[in-house]
Symmetry: C2
Subunit: 867 residues, 2 copies
């Protein structure tokens, strides 16, 4: 008997064409018809009408809002449905995060927030067993690893490379075992992964939502067009052809799509009939059985089948849905939003999480004084920003503005000091501080000392700066935005040296003075373009857009051969492309602060701006990018590990997401580039590494967003100007991680600066450390946040991959009792990664891979309970 | 306190852009999103959630289908809702009939069918108290008269002339008393009539259906854009400005529209909130009270106000929604469908209704033998054909085809004789009967003898025809569709004489030989055109379409000055316009059988074809048209009885619906034209009467149908050819009705011809009469139909208006005991017109008009019960 699991579901973006609030209430239906409050109303109603019916719900951001507005009797009804398995939560994070442009720390936070709500509201029956990323545009290995560590038994998604799918269909490998870490011991990061048959849509002809036009089942013989026989015949044909490309005698069909089930009756009424009429044929010998099901019921049947499953070690990037349709543009789309999301995360971790813990759960008094702490607003803003149409940059402009506004509100609410001027630094153009005397408080959120140049906007020309002991601090005042006079804080560097070509003004070499290594290094800026009237469009008329990157030509246009009209290390390439090159005395990294914009469109051509680093490093197609800021993955140009690639887009088809860093290396040299936000990039030529910085496009790429990615605003009416930093480090490959791991964490969690007018109170404590001592280099303080009145959530992370450092990839021991200066540990319990289950109660299905190898697990999580 | 009655409702066309079955099931949602089954599912669910909520339902054609599919427990639930007044039926006919193109007999039938179902299902609580014609495009006086006689307490509609509405708003006359007959004694045909404030839509900004984009009420202060204060402020402003133009401290708001409430939760959730927040302001002194209500609750409050109301005696035709947007095209649109609907009615009355009664309810044996009688299919087909987007001709082509197909199925199922050839006559082009010998059975459905030329298609050249007594019958064989030889059945006429102009071949005079009156009469054919590129479109670019008639110029184009190439009385005006003029020996009417089509469109111009009769009759702007085939209404060019008209369309703005006849007259002569279907017409010049015959248009008129009225088919790939008849009678005005009343009924109820092959069985009864004697001329047998096993429904109608005939406008007495030849009357009960209430139990609200006069009531209805 072939069992067909029908899974009624809705896919509710927490922002895309409309804002998350507009989606919830069903406002602005002129843009898109969607109202989540009504979906949940309607589904609950319909589930009550027939105990066989099932539904899954995914996005806790929406469910939480709806739940708050229900009567207690409705809440009891919903609990009953959850307890009986009729309403099942899957995924269950605050949102369905993007996988290409998110940092793992923010993803863990948003998952934790959603899962915590479900746990506290529904108990174990509300805990999702299945991760469900049906829409994200490619899939990161780190996401799979996190899902495994969160205790999920399986993972389902809908989008993968069209060639990959074809191969997997042929070989019945659409269901597989993903070994998602090369450091964690299997099966710790093993995740059963299922690729859904129709993306996340119903099979063709069987969409019965109000948004669909497929014929309903017309079973009244008195009416015209009785069609039961036809519907059943079509359904059996689809089920049987689907069964051919999967391994077991169970198959799954997703019966729903974007914002469907607003009027669930339409779906269920027809599904009831479908099940009835198809199963009725069993009396005549039919071997097909249809049932209402959920992903976890389906997964249970797959597990029960006790087969072996193909093993997958790499990830699912880049995603292409056709030969010239690579979804690699969104790796860079909306670079300003991507950066704002990243510094907002840093701010959240510091001001909302760490400082609340350190200021004490009881009084909120202490060295930092009384604060107006509102965790939830900032956390929620960050959580929705992880959505796959948020930080991805694939939302409409007004929605991008809404995400930014939410983050800004979050910042305001997280201010610990009433008169803090911290916000002054959060805007693109520096504002001078109009004060003759002020104090600067610098809080370092990392669990070890950092060297960090503090740059402040001021309006005077000379300042005296002294530290907590009254000792004078070295300082310089720079005049910004002036071509004529520069007075830069350029120190004599201790660790690096950089040379410039005297003819072109471009970088020419980079040296590590410690390791005595030097590479030739040329850097320049280029743009790529999709030109609709280009004769090269015969193969496809797919333009670049928010999602898609598709230049006409594989040769990018050079913006300038030389950096004319610049002094020393400030480089001007064009009126809209400039860069400041900085080397700080104590830094092991070269800072390239780029400024791009407004990208000119007078020629009616949208442009995608990259910077390319060309080096003497001898690579042969290989390069490396990170997965969500954590593990590094090897990439190879024009190659995919699990299928025989036919490359159709030589640039876009070789771009991968970069969340925190990328590197190229040979036997002796490794050049690592640390980014300050998610970007796309690749190594198109050997020895070369290119990173896309900014995109301004004049066409929509026809993937739904419905507007070109052409960012302007009141402040930037002629086009958005974006500024960012790349940090370059040159190292010997075996020890390169010892440099880039802490460097990247410093960019992710930045020191917090706060200000006080005039003189400080004489009793003010000028220095404070929350830790008794620095953590060992291998251990990163990922999360420190108040959980409830009496407990805090602590996440400590071993940040080195098993293979990347002789020194730091080893196991380490941390004494929790001696960790904090202001907290006494009364008890500790270990939880899963998402903190919604005790670690020792976490039991997951075991799956047998076709082959298997293992690694160390050093990612530990703790849970402090002070009775 | 101002009371705002919110009336949740849905407007469900029984066919328009989709067929009635497609609308019911929600099929073809690509054309229009609409599924009535889901509307009723959803509304019942939502009514159960809050006992304050109300809903009205209108179209029994849909409700009946839905009801059949419900479980008995759901049926009990719905009964409870009806009994508690939470679900209220209004109007309640099978459909919401068109008012301009329907004949009263078919309207009464469809109302009776719907109301009967409600009566039998729900008893008195299911009987509608309010008529509800929110969408029809203008309103007929006869409809109001029928509604009054059906026992309705009030009538609400949405569309009226924009100038009329402006005047009534100013004078607070949007609620009025319609005195809907000049023959029935008031208040017998008095009907309280309310004009709804927003058509049938909600006020602007308050549409919360899934099909709308208005902002929902966002009352969670945690979300962006909390808008309760704004919504309440806007609502109060609208309510107060609406109250200014109505008389009482109660106002009504229709909260719904086309096919809305498919997901009723969206509406009710927001209406609940609206009521809550608006009424909450009463604590702060607000004087506005909002409540869920129904039209009958609202009507009760108006009645309780005990005011006097403006009196209206004329009708609401033509309807214009702007200066150049007269909805007078649909009076003629789809002339073939309009005719097919009319002869289908005749067929239904005869074969399904009268013959079933006469053949006997017990055995169905008798003179007509065994029959395959299926009432309901034919009745339902006729009932939905009355819909305001059915016979009106304002549906899409595929829907028009569907109505025709339903009617055809109805014909098939109504065939009494298995081997009947009756269908042969129902098609436009005659088919020969390939039989050397056959019998013809002629059944006359009128309750008095008629003279009727029997024309049969045959393929022989000579036939012997004998009557029931074996006596030879005068006969001629005509060759059709030949220019060369004509052998027409033109007899030496006894009553009329017509002359033709020898130069032009056109009609030149008409004489009544009995009354010795002669008028000059010229007739020709013309076309009008809307030319998009005409310079005359500066005022408006409204084109003619299915609804709208808008020629560029007031001067119609003459098709031909002469009727060249014709013989005698067969006239050829153009390759696509011809006419046969016939005078039968025994007839008092001149027959003009016109054939129009395919209307040429090679010049890219759509055309609207009229025939115009120009006479020597001295009229001064007045002419007369009927109302739904019953009473005659006086019309005056460029004039409206109840407001000071500013005429903006000299032709379209003077067109009125003609359902059965129109006439012009002066002191001595009255020329009456009896039509065979509904058509539009007017008297643009004195002495002239023009009738629109056919319309072929190349533009959509932007009233929703979304396709041009350009009828083609497999049979007519180059454009539809339509044939029809006009019957002209010339009389002295005081006695003209004595001729045109029976003449028009003969066209409405035609003799039924059936055939038998070869020799008849020797025992065959060759003659039969269902009546013992003919009814008096004033009395028309309107309905004779089997009601249930033991009773028949009989409707007898006094067909003369009180003023139109010295002879026949007097009261008459009919002896029911001696009426029928095969039925013995065991008991009689009188009912209201729609047969859903005993006449003596019919109590209606009394309303006080501002002025009042009265007339006779002779429209009687009987209900036979043979215990």
């Amino acid at each position: 008997m072939l069992n067909v699991h029908l899974v009624p579901h809705t896919h509710d973006d927490v922002g895309w064409l409309k804002t998350v609030d507009q989606y919830f209430y069903g406002d602005r239906n002129d843009i898109q018809h969607a109202g989540v409050q009504y979906i949940l109303d309607s589904v609950v109603d319909q589930l009550l009408k027939n105990p066989d019916r099932r539904f899954i719900y995914v996005e806790t951001a929406f469910f939480y809002r709806w739940w708050k507005q229900q009567s207690s009797s409705m809440q009891q009804t919903v609990k009953k449905l959850v307890n009986e398995g009729r309403l099942e939560f899957v995924n269950g994070g605050w949102c369905m995060s993007d996988e290409a442009t998110t940092h793992y720390s923010a993803v863990i936070d948003q998952m934790t927030m959603g899962l915590r709500f479900l746990n506290e509201t529904f108990g174990p029956c509300g805990r999702p067993r299945v991760a469900w990323h049906i829409d994200p545009f490619g899939h990161a290995r780190e996401h799979a690893s996190m899902f495994a560590q969160m205790g999920y038994d399986g993972f389902f998604f809908g989008r993968l490379d069209y060639q990959d799918r074809a191969r997997r269909r042929r070989d019945k490998e659409q269901e597989l075992l993903w070994r998602a870490s090369d450091s964690l011991t299997p099966p710790m990061a093993d995740l059963f992964t299922g690729i859904l048959p129709n993306g996340y849509n119903p099979p063709e002809g069987f969409c019965w939502d109000q948004s669909c036009d497929d014929p309903p089942i017309r079973d009244d013989p008195d009416l015209e067009d009785y069609n039961v026989d036809d519907v059943v015949r079509r359904f059996l044909a689809i089920a049987n052809s689907q069964a051919i490309v999967y391994k077991t005698d169970h198959i799954i069909m997703t019966m729903g799509s974007d914002f469907q089930y607003e009027n669930a009756n339409l779906w269920y009424k027809n599904l009831d009939k479908l099940i009835h009429y198809v199963n009725a044929l069993q009396a005549n010998g039919s071997k097909v059985n249809v049932l209402y099901s959920t992903p976890s019921c389906y997964l249970q049947e797959l597990h029960r089948a006790n087969l072996t499953w193909a093993l997958k070690m790499d990830d699912f990037f880049p995603y292409a849905d056709d030969a010239h349709d690579f979804w690699t543009g969104y790796f860079t789309s909306r670079p300003a939003l991507k950066r704002y999301e990243r510094i907002s995360n840093s701010n959240l971790q510091v001001t909302c999480n760490q400082l609340e813990v350190l200021s004490g759960p009881a009084s909120r008094k202490g060295p930092f004084g009384e604060g107006d702490i509102n965790l939830s607003l900032s956390e929620k803003a960050m959580a929705v920003a992880q959505h796959h149409d948020a930080v991805s940059g694939t939302e409409k402009q007004h929605v991008a503005n809404d995400y930014a506004r939410r983050l800004a509100h979050g910042w305001q609410r997280c201010q610990v000091f009433q008169a803090s001027h911290v916000l002054l630094l959060n805007i693109a153009q520096p504002h001078p501080v109009f004060l003759s005397q002020f104090s600067v408080n610098v809080y370092n959120p990392l669990a070890r000392p950092v060297t960090w140049p503090v740059r402040l906007p001021v309006n005077g020309t000379a300042y005296l700066v002294s530290d907590a002991n009254g000792k004078s601090v070295d300082c310089q005042v720079s005049v910004l935005f002036s071509l004529k006079t520069e007075n830069l804080c350029v120190h004599l560097p201790q660790f690096l040296r950089v040379t410039f070509d005297p003819d072109t003004g471009l970088l020419s070499s980079l040296s590590n003075l410690e390791t005595k290594q030097t590479i030739k290094l040329t850097q320049n800026f280029y743009w790529l373009v999709y030109n609709a009237s280009d004769g090269n469009n015969l193969q496809s008329d797919q333009p670049s857009g928010a999602y898609i990157f598709r230049p006409n030509s594989s040769t990018p246009f050079l913006i300038s051969k030389t950096t004319s009209g610049v002094q020393e290390v400030r480089q001007w390439f064009a009126p809209w492309v400039s860069q400041v090159v900085r080397l700080y005395t104590d830094s092991k990294a070269l800072e390239l602060e780029w400024t791009v914009g407004p990208v000119p469109i007078d020629d009616d051509l949208g442009k995608e701006v990259i910077t390319r680093l060309d080096t003497s490093i001898k690579t042969s197609q290989y390069f490396y990018t990170d997965s969500n800021g954590r593990e590094m993955l090897q990439r190879k140009t024009d190659f995919r590990p699990t299928w025989n690639l036919r490359q159709s887009e030589p640039i876009a088809g070789n771009y991968y997401p970069i969340n925190s860093r990328a590197f190229i290396k040979d036997d002796v040299d490794q050049l690592t580039v640390v980014t300050d936000r998610s970007q796309g990039g690749g190594s198109i030529h050997n020895g070369s590494l290119e990173i896309m910085l900014h995109r301004r496009l004049l066409y929509d790429d026809v993937r739904g967003v419905g507007e070109p990615l052409n960012e302007t605003s009141n402040i930037f009416p002629k086009g958005l100007v974006v500024r960012g930093r790349l940090l370059l480090s040159l190292d010997r490959p075996p020890s390169a991680a010892d440099a880039h791991r802490p460097l990247a964490q410093e960019v992710v969690l930045q020191p917090l600066l706060t200000f006080t007018d005039g003189d400080l109170h004489p009793n003010t404590q000028l220095e404070f450390s929350g830790l008794q001592a620095a953590l060992p280099p291998a251990v990163h303080l990922l999360t420190l946040t108040q959980w409830d009145k009496d407990s805090v959530l602590l996440r400590l992370e071993h940040q080195f991959q098993s293979w990347e450092s002789k020194l730091n990839s080893q196991p380490v021991t941390v004494n929790l009792q001696k960790l904090f200066s202001t907290l006494e540990v009364l008890g500790v319990s270990e939880l899963n990664l998402s903190a919604n289950q005790w670690k020792d109660e976490m039991t997951r299905f075991h799956w047998t891979p076709m082959t298997g190898t293992g690694h160390l697990n050093l990612f530990i999580r703790f849970y402090y309970i002070s009775s």
